[in-house]
Symmetry: C2
Subunit: 322 residues, 2 copies
Amino acid sequence: MALIDLSKQVALGIDIGGTNTKFGLVNHRGEILEKGSIRTDQYGEVEEYIEDLYKTVAPLLKQHCSHRQFDGIGVGAPNANYFRGTIEHAPNLRWKGIIPFADMMTKKFGVPCKMTNDANAAALGELLFGAARGMKDFIMITLGTGVGSGIVSGGKLIYGNDGFAGELGHTIVKPGGRKHWSTGSEGSLEAYASATGIAVTAKKMRAEFPESMLNEFPEEDIDSKVVFECAKKGDPTAIEVFRYTGQKLGEALANFVMFSSPEAILLFGGVIKAGDFILKPTKLHMERNLLPIFRNKVKLVFSELDEADAAILGASALVWEK
Amino acid sequence: MALIDLSKQVALGIDIGGTNTKFGLVNHRGEILEKGSIRTDQYGEVEEYIEDLYKTVAPLLKQHCSHRQFDGIGVGAPNANYFRGTIEHAPNLRWKGIIPFADMMTKKFGVPCKMTNDANAAALGELLFGAARGMKDFIMITLGTGVGSGIVSGGKLIYGNDGFAGELGHTIVKPGGRKHWSTGSEGSLEAYASATGIAVTAKKMRAEFPESMLNEFPEEDIDSKVVFECAKKGDPTAIEVFRYTGQKLGEALANFVMFSSPEAILLFGGVIKAGDFILKPTKLHMERNLLPIFRNKVKLVFSELDEADAAILGASALVWEK
């Protein structure tokens, strides 16, 4: 055993999204030796997907390590269950029902495979290689098409009793509020703070303010990127879209802080490109809703890692997790 | 070392409330060998309080164990900090500022002293000796004068970065809602689901329904006990008070479940005497606000331990915690 040079060991980190799957070969130092991607949405059958993924990855593996140096596979995927190694009823994937994904991967690749949800994987990436290095208690909030979260407490990811902990995007921030387009719940954080939610807010607000620059765009082009462009040009309505989003997000974050009292909250994902337009109102409303004992203690920061890398690094870290 | 008979070792468990302090000598099996109490609110100075506590407890200690068998003191107190052994700015205690309580106790009693907040102590009590035995993930909600909480995840209490985690009573369940009488926050869980909050709801509702039995009582007598008496007699307004309370509590619990995905939520404290009047609407609204993957999984149960015993047992367990 002493003959194994740990620095030469390699893990395959995989980040499965609804559209694309990104993967990387990662070593113990968190260096990505090789990256690549395949489409996720092209495969109606998970078997074909795994077959093609194998064909794409196998030559790269051969190039970078011997089979003895290949320690395993870590996967971040929507609705992935850490305890069971399954993907369960993921609304954004074509594979329906409960998929025993980890077992299928192990059969194909001949190495152990561990999984967790995509936001948890990103949180692990930040913990090991990003802005959360050395932290024992932090919450990662991913603000993309949806809102995901990974919660680290006492140095460990919270998986909960059934492996599904940390669905903070689906917590209700405004009872009886905006109906979610897919879950049907009313007033969830995701309905307001995701890129999708921001587009909904923008469409409502531009209808109220005919003079807004946002009205220069066709309906289908209104997204968080366009809102950001208009905000940068000083459009008060676009700025108000982010302020309102930040208020809802900040109120939610205050509740999360009173739950697990983290050292920091890391924001991650496409929406954070809006910078201070989103960060400042979020911080204001988080602080305003905290008990005094929690105030001005919790760092609210943007992720430092490249978005794609964080998930790959975090997923690969599952392989070496104790 | 082998000569120590563990079953003879004793811990002093202390539960500090705003009015009374209860204590017990507890052995390794969770048997309370001796119980007692002193007033908390009689002492303007914490030094006098500790002096009198010592005078009360010392003879009992002498009776039940040698100094070698006395392993330490565990304390549950409002706003107690686990990491620092302090009581910090507790609104319901007369001792203001930051009190180095654990150090003061150690100096007086000559043994180590550990502390945590009262709800955490009760959660530990349930984990070791009550309804949560064998569980790794559960949330304890105490519904008394206020609303407290203790969160166990992966078999351990969540203390957070600063030792103040688990202030779920102060999470906002209705933004812009009822103003809290002491914190000033708007729409916190405590403002609705505590005994104090229930009294507020009852006073509002009886004013709307002149025919309610609740109107037979003078203003100052309206409390959760009176509401329960009227509900038992079939008064629709009193029943509605608990239904409304359960709705707010259930909505909050759904958010907590999506945070840490517990196996069970334990309800504890005076308010649970209302039984199904509070339990049924709480369960209904919890389930209604959960994502499908969490539905019908989480047990919602009442504590099995005597209220006073749970806190004493949990506090004493701090002494032997790894």
